[in-house]
Amino acid sequence: MQAILFYLTAVVAILSAFFVMKCRNPINSALNLVTTFLCLAVFYVMLESPFMAAVQIMVYAGAIMVLIIFVIMLLNLGLTVKTRYTHGLAAGGILSVMVLFVANYFTRAGEATGTGGSVTSELIASYGHTELIGRAMFVDFLLPFEIASILLLVAIVGAVVLSKRKV
């Protein structure tokens, strides 16, 4: 049951990712990207991290894609942009499939197969995974977390400065 669901979602994810590149209309590409994000969210749910799934939808499908759609709506890229890149698309596709095989080989051969990290299903069941994430973020990874706030501040400043210069 789980396996069927996994493969179904995986097929949808791969197909929609393919159409992100293949679609001639940028807005269709953007919509396919949303579908890919939704499939990723399903994977997160299957990996017992519904919090990550919700964040995936809220931040990627809800915020970042909105910006991309804004940009597409404005710049009016038209349909002909893609045609020039057909050869590059094929070469890039072959290259990425090869990289995928290599990565797959190393994950299967290496140590990574056996180890699962300290967080197990039992731990998640007893604490709740959102609590685990909160604890990891505020105890183990405190400094990166606070640096993230500075990074976001820089993003705000950057956006304001760029928009001032542009007009």
């Binding site: 969210a41 519904p50 919700a54 499908a61 809800g62 909105v66 759609i69 804004f70 709506m73 959102t130």
Partner: protein
Amino acid sequence: MTDPLLSLALILAKLIAVFGVILTLAAYLVLAERKLLARMQLRYGPNRVGPFGMMQPLADVIKLLTKEDFVPATADKWLFLIAPGLSAVTALLTFAVVPFGPPLEIFGKTLPLVVIDLNVGVLYFLGLSSLAVYGMALGGWASNSKYSLLGSIRGLSQLISYELSMGLAIVPVVMMARSFSLTEIVMAQEKIPYLLLNPLAFPIFLISVLAESKRIPFDLPEAENELVGGFHTEYSGMRFGLFFVGEYINLIILGSMVTVFFLGGWHGPWLPGVVWFALKVLAICAFFIWVRGSMPRLRYDQLMHFGWKVLLPLSLLNVLVTGAVLLGMS
């Protein structure tokens, strides 16, 4: 699961009941709004179809279905055709996590009166509400008309701006209930609703919800007297109807969210839980209609200023104050 068939039948019965109630309620909310508004403006409102105009929604549906389904020649056809469906489906799906009554004992089984009690229900709601912008944005863009595009761009910025304060206003509720599950949030309000425990989060949430529902005073995406119909200017027939019904379904859902997060859900004396829940939701809807009857529309800069300069800082502050108080008490 002693008897899978029985449970399946119960689930199906529950789902059919849910759909029946939501769709009927949405249709009659339209009538109620027209009637109430008419009374506020010293008119009668629809009163020709059936007694007191009660058959008006049925007549509207038949009329919308048999109208021409028009697609402008310059429109992006497929996006134009599916956009209303997108907005209606996202609105309907949100209701899946709303608990509308205490668990029911029936045929020796407990039937929870909620489609699914997700342990991340709050996040499910926030995620779907962030997807809800797509129907409107794509509908407006695909129409290839200036009014539509302006409406959808305005709407997009408005919705994302108020989503922030809406999400942050729920955070104190999550902290007080110590859960993301909507059922548990309702359970935690058995004695005192969060409206009284956190009086600042309630108005923030209510105003954000009003903005999310794109209604007066926040109806800039479809401002009739400047943008004709806003993002649905080019739509006709049932597709316009789906945008319209989606809006009212959304109204019911946002009303239920206010009820669940702040008004104690199904809790109340004397009457059964489901009745209390329905009464509270209807009261919120009536409040929204009342607001529409008595408020003017905001200017766009006022709208954005209010969202970013008032609601956002207030909701952040509220999260911190709630955290400090809760930590201080424990």
